[in-house]
Amino acid sequence: MDPLQFYGVTVASRLLLGTAQYPSPAILADAITRSEADILTVSLRRESTGGSGGRDFWKLISAMGKKILPNTAGCHSAKEAITTAEMARDVFDTPWIKLEVIGNADTLQPDVFGLVEAARELCAQGFQVFPYTTDDLIVAEKLLSVGCEVLMPWGAPIGSGKGLNNRFALKAMRAHFPNVPLVVDAGLGVPSHAADAMELGYDAVLLNTAVAKAGDPAAMAEGFALAVKAGRLAYRAGAMEARDMAVPSTPVFGQPFV
């Protein structure tokens, strides 16, 4: 057993899947199934919450029977993110919220100041916050101190598909917070990136674009599911240390055993 818990809730998969940008809801449903994801992130546009028929898409997502992690994607201020989080709680009936406060529309880099401010307010209101943050350790400490119990640092900018831009910083974060669930959120492009994050000891990864924009999203979802499992197994197994020279596995005649 290798259980993973977020806010006391045990989740069955270490792959969290986003639901935006798929060619159709039917293809999204196939991708969800083959990803074996247990948690789906759903980004809420305010206008999709009201009116008759405005919730058709959310009904389709809900019908998948997965845990829903609503997302404040596209919010550019703490206030906007808080308002969106409150709406999401009404729509999805969950205290969970993936908190994004975007600092710049082009880079989609988190505004870590607004993030901490919004997290403080939402935690005080009883939300269970999953903050999308950078790999900065001090920001991470602030987030924990205002009540967050999960951290979601970026691997690379949202949608860039670059993989782990700063492995050193991500390793430092893992070492610095050994007991906090850490999720690499954003920037992964291919399954090997996900395996890389898991081999570093991250508890889970969160994806969207890499699957949604693949030629065959459902197949790519399965590829990521396998990579996440492989990376996790490798981390738990304990990897050998890399070295610069070849090491023959049998004695070489004429060489001492050193």
Binding site: P25, A29, E47, G51, F57, L60
Partner: protein, 350 residues
């Protein structure tokens, strides 16, 4: 003998004037592009057609706000192969029956930092060629300064939806004697007809429970400072936009895609995104006049593919999504052949 032969010849004349058979009574509910091309295909096969529309004018639903791009190849970037098949047939329909279809292809461009998106687009589609700066300048001189590379889909075409809807209505009245009953939100139960085609789009959610709404917002700009000859698609990771040139220096800029059935409001955010994209294509759009803003809801099923559903003597044609002009003629032809020729089309009867 003389009398009876006289009776026979006049009876034969009667048969000839009525198309030599009983004219099937056809009712079409909904006068958007789906309803009008369905009326046309039924009239072509000798049906006696009446079109019912709840609004006072034809085509004022989401057909009115469409781009009118006949872009079967570009759409293959994200759509299923069926859309390409329907799109090619529909392109041929529009070219056969209407003279105002513009056959100048489609240009797909991206800002320099989004060139990976252009490569991705090229990898998912075919029937295109890569253009360098000189070739872009030859096709669209106004874009050459800003875009060094583009994808050109030479076989595509576009039409002005509003001109088309009007021409189609006039053709149906003048050439086929189709009757239009406006301001009339009828139920199929109230109609006396042999076959009823339900083409109400998103309004048909009362009977098509798996239909969902995908909201779209568009605007029409007017400027004499930009000249484009063909639709231009600007790729962007979050906000892909197209600009379609229309008569008298008008440009249709569209369209947002929002999972919502609310057709009432055009958000400031959407306006900013559309205008930003237009400005990125050419800065002179910043000085353009905003002539019109529009918003409506596209009807779609979960796989974003259109369907024909049989329900007794009612056929429900729906789920055109963003492929109204691209899909409707081909779907209507199939529906008409189901009724007039007893055929079946498993690819759309789901």
């Amino acid at each position: 003998m003389d009398e009876s032969s006289g009776f026979l010849s006049s009876f034969q004349a009667f048969l000839i004037t009525t198309g030599n058979r009983y004219a099937m009574k056809i009712a079409v509910i909904g006068a958007g592009v789906m309803g009008l091309v369905t009326a046309h295909h039924c009239a072509l096969r000798g049906g006696s057609v009446t079109v019912y529309e709840r609004r006072p004018e034809t085509g004022r639903g989401c057909s009115w706000y469409a781009g009118g791009m006949l872009a079967a190849w570009c759409e293959m970037e994200s759509a299923e192969p069926l859309i390409g098949e329907l799109g090619l047939e529909s392109l041929s329909y529009w070219k056969t029956h209407f003279s105002h279809v513009v056959e100048k292809g489609t240009l797909v461009i991206a800002p320099p930092r989004d060139l990976p998106d252009l490569k991705r687009f090229a990898a998912r589609t075919h029937a295109h060629e890569w253009l360098g700066r000189d070739a872009v300048a030859a096709l669209e001189p106004d874009l050459a300064e800003r875009f060094e590379t583009a994808l050109f889909f030479a076989s595509e075409a576009h039409l002005d939806p509003r001109v088309t809807l009007d021409a189609l209505r006039q053709k149906l009245i003048a050439e086929y004697g189709v009757t239009f009953v406006m301001d009339s939100a009828v139920s199929p139960d109230d109609i006396n007809a042999d076959h009823i085609f339900d083409c109400r789009g998103y309004e048909a959610r009362d009977v098509l429970k798996d239909l969902r709404g995908v909201k779209g917002e568009m605007l029409i700009l007017r400027t004499k400072e930009v000249n484009l000859s063909r639709p231009v698609r600007l790729l962007h990771p979050r906000i892909p936009v197209y600009i379609v040139p229309r008569a008298d220096h008008h440009f249709m800029v569209g369209a947002t895609m929002i999972e919502s059935g609310d057709r009432t409001r055009f958000s400031a955010r959407s306006m900013v995104e559309l205008l930003n994209a237009a400005y990125a294509v050419h800065p002179a759009f910043g000085e353009a006049e905003i002539v019109e803003t529009g918003t409506d809801v596209r009807p779609a099923f979960a796989d974003n593919l259109p369907r024909i559903r049989r329900d007794g003597k009612i056929l429900r044609l729906n789920g055109l999504y963003r492929h109204g002009y691209l899909g409707a003629p081909a779907l209507a032809r199939r529906a008409a052949e189901i009724v007039f020729e007893g055929k079946s089309f498993p690819e759309v009867e789901r």
